[in-house]
Symmetry: C2
Amino acid sequence: MMKWLNKLLSTPSTDPLATALSSILGFTPENTQFYHQAFCHSSIEEPKYGDNERLEFLGDSILDSVITEYLYHKLPTKDEGVLTDIRSKMVSRHTLNKLAKEFKIDEFIQTNLGGKIPVSVFGNAFEALIAAIYLDKGEPFCRNFIISKIIKKYFSLETLEKEISSYKKHFIHWTQKTNKSFSFELQSETGESHNKSFQMALVLEGSEISKATASSKKKAEEATAKIACESLKI
Amino acid sequence: MMKWLNKLLSTPSTDPLATALSSILGFTPENTQFYHQAFCHSSIEEPKYGDNERLEFLGDSILDSVITEYLYHKLPTKDEGVLTDIRSKMVSRHTLNKLAKEFKIDEFIQTNLGGKIPVSVFGNAFEALIAAIYLDKGEPFCRNFIISKIIKKYFSLETLEKEISSYKKHFIHWTQKTNKSFSFELQSETGESHNKSFQMALVLEGSEISKATASSKKKAEEATAKIACESLKI
């Protein structure tokens, strides 16, 4: 769809890609070759500006570091376990694919994959786009773009905090930090083989502090850890 | 050993930590509270400046992003698979622990662990030190420190490139990029159960391109992939 663009000389004023992107990004790209590269999947043979895999490698790291520093400063009372969990959610494949949709990557991407383009192709191109902005406009501009146009626009730290990905992980981390002993104990296993029910208890320093029942040991552990984290306010 | 330092008011001119660090880092720290925090393990109870876990979270990301950008620019012809492998080696636990030794972290670290301090405590504190430099002196200074005092001093990209961690991974990545079919095929399995020998062949687009024998399937695959990568110059 965008192949004809590549045939044009890509100077900022004449490259239609710069115009098309400016309404989405909120600024006009200058060195458009980086953006052409960011939208070029590795299935394209002999691309004029190269494919986007090296840019994806760079963009992934830039996004991660800007988000890390942002969380470090914005959540000064949260320990690194919580910060790590929040960051994981913000840079997950799922999130990147959603952001790619917001930034209309599907309208710009060039592939040779036919009609069936895996959604990860868009998420990867979104990371490459971050690198293109970094190389085109420099570090402070790109950092500001990530904070104002991505983090502040699409994430709520409050919501993310409430959705900590693994309460078990969070609980174990807390026991290591506070040097407390704990164990997850299977109290009962009931039901037929395809419809089992497991009751797990969480024992902290010899005392049972929570218990939960679920369809797998793993789910019951997670549920009991969640109850414990909430009652201990950790 | 350094506990008495914490009792002193930490202004740059009077804090002995600033003087002690200046000969190791090559500059004089200004806001020494960040460095006190970087050297404070979480086993210390109620530390004056907090422990180093949040700084480790930040430092890990800073180190990763500076190394990523450095490799991106320094190795413009290498694909992201090679860049990822080289970066993995540069930021591995093993490497961080070695760097911690070079920067004499063991002389500064404060812990409540007794005599048996796991070596990872030093590597983690090294990452925290990176964050302390970043917060004390700012992003451009810290980036320059990482490039000149860590990367250029302790790493050879040429050597790292030669030691790509997994030839199998590298080979598979290349087949995906070039859209070629391949398979690893077990040709023979000989010897007693505790002394087995596996011969694996690597078949590319229907033709056997290499074979190797080793004590496990995994090792034989790696060995045959290495031969293939070298003969294909990939």
